[in-house]
């Protein structure tokens, strides 16, 4: 995806970041990516922002089962058990 094989630009980093954090980059591209982060604070902070985003979304409470739905489903389970 990089324009050349020996260099990743900042505008490419922001598009490769998910492949990087998901460990889906081929090893040579991952190495170039990390090399870039070593000398570019902006991109290091950007990757950190993405990690913070993932952490923040991870703190959102999963949907709970509404009480009326729970009781309806339990009633269905009891019916099923009887049949």
């Amino acid at each position: 995806m990089a324009e050349s094989h020996d260099h990743v630009s900042c505008s490419e980093v922001v598009e490769l970041v998910t492949d990087y954090v998901e460990r889906a980059l081929p090893p040579d591209e991952a190495a170039l990516f990390e090399q870039h982060l070593n000398f570019c604070d902006g991109c290091a902070w950007y990757v950190d922002q993405i990690r913070t985003t993932v952490d923040t979304v991870g703190r959102i409470e999963p949907e709970e089962v509404p009480p009326d739905v729970r009781s309806q489903l339990l009633a269905a389970f009891r019916d099923w058990k009887r049949s």
């Binding site: 630009s9 922001v14 998901e22 889906a24 902006g42 923040t56 949907e63 089962v65």
Partner: protein, 216 residues
């Protein structure tokens, strides 16, 4: 992206034990199953139907389908995969009945979408093309309380609510519900590469919303 979907897992030892309890009529086991899968089922249904209300109906109907199929379930896929397949089938049927104009094929990502506005990078005529004009902020320097504020969580939730359906489903499954990529691929019938593109676009948009919030 055309790579094959990830290999499916068969039912785990834990699921086999849970199945035995369910078949024996153990209500606590059933409740645990409902609690574990409800949020993910809702997220999956919402990729296929137009509203939350219809998605809730789909999930309820899916549970009846689960009960109907429980005796015959052979554990050739994981219990979770099997449940999600029931959700998808019902959701698709409902989607057709709603005469939704969006075809299912469109759950795969479409077009181009920049993670960051292109004008934040130097142009091709510049000495450093593709480099930041101004660096994004270092969020490590934000006070911990700001990151953990209810407001911050609210911004993330609102941003997710505004995402296109497939992106919203993927980020909810992966980052809220903690599903693996294979579960997303199975539920949305997309390749691993495409689930990653959807996740990338979703996370990028939520990051942008948080950035607007922090930068005020």
């Amino acid at each position: 992206m055309t790579e094959a979907p990830l290999k499916e897992r068969t039912a785990s030892a834990e699921e086999v034990e849970l199945l035995a309890r369910l078949r024996a009529g153990d209500e606590r086991a059933f409740e645990a199953l409902v609690d574990r899968h409800y949020g993910t089922m809702l997220a999956v249904a919402r990729a296929y139907v137009s509203s939350r209300a219809v998605a809730e109906e789909v999930v309820q109907e899916a549970w009846l389908g689960v009960l109907k199929g429980l005796e015959g379930f052979e554990g050739r896929s994981s219990l979770a995969t099997w449940i999600m397949r029931i959700v998808v089938n019902i959701a698709k049927t409902r989607g057709v009945r709603e005469a939704r104009s969006v075809p299912y094929a469109s759950l795969a990502p479409e077009g181009e979408e920049a993670a960051v506005e292109r004008d934040r990078f130097r142009g091709p005529g510049d000495a450093f093309p593709g480099h930041w004009r101004a660096y994004p902020a270092n969020w490590n320097s934000l006070p911990e309380e700001v990151l953990h504020e209810r407001d911050t969580l609210r911004v993330a939730m609102d941003a997710i609510a505004k995402l296109p359906p497939a992106q919203r489903t993927v980020i909810t499954m992966r980052d809220v519900q903690g599903c693996g990529p294979d579960e997303v691929c199975a539920a949305l019938e997309v390749s691993d590469g495409n689930q990653r593109i959807l996740l990338h676009r979703a996370r990028s948009r939520v990051r942008a919303a948080l950035e607007r919030h922090f930068d005020g």
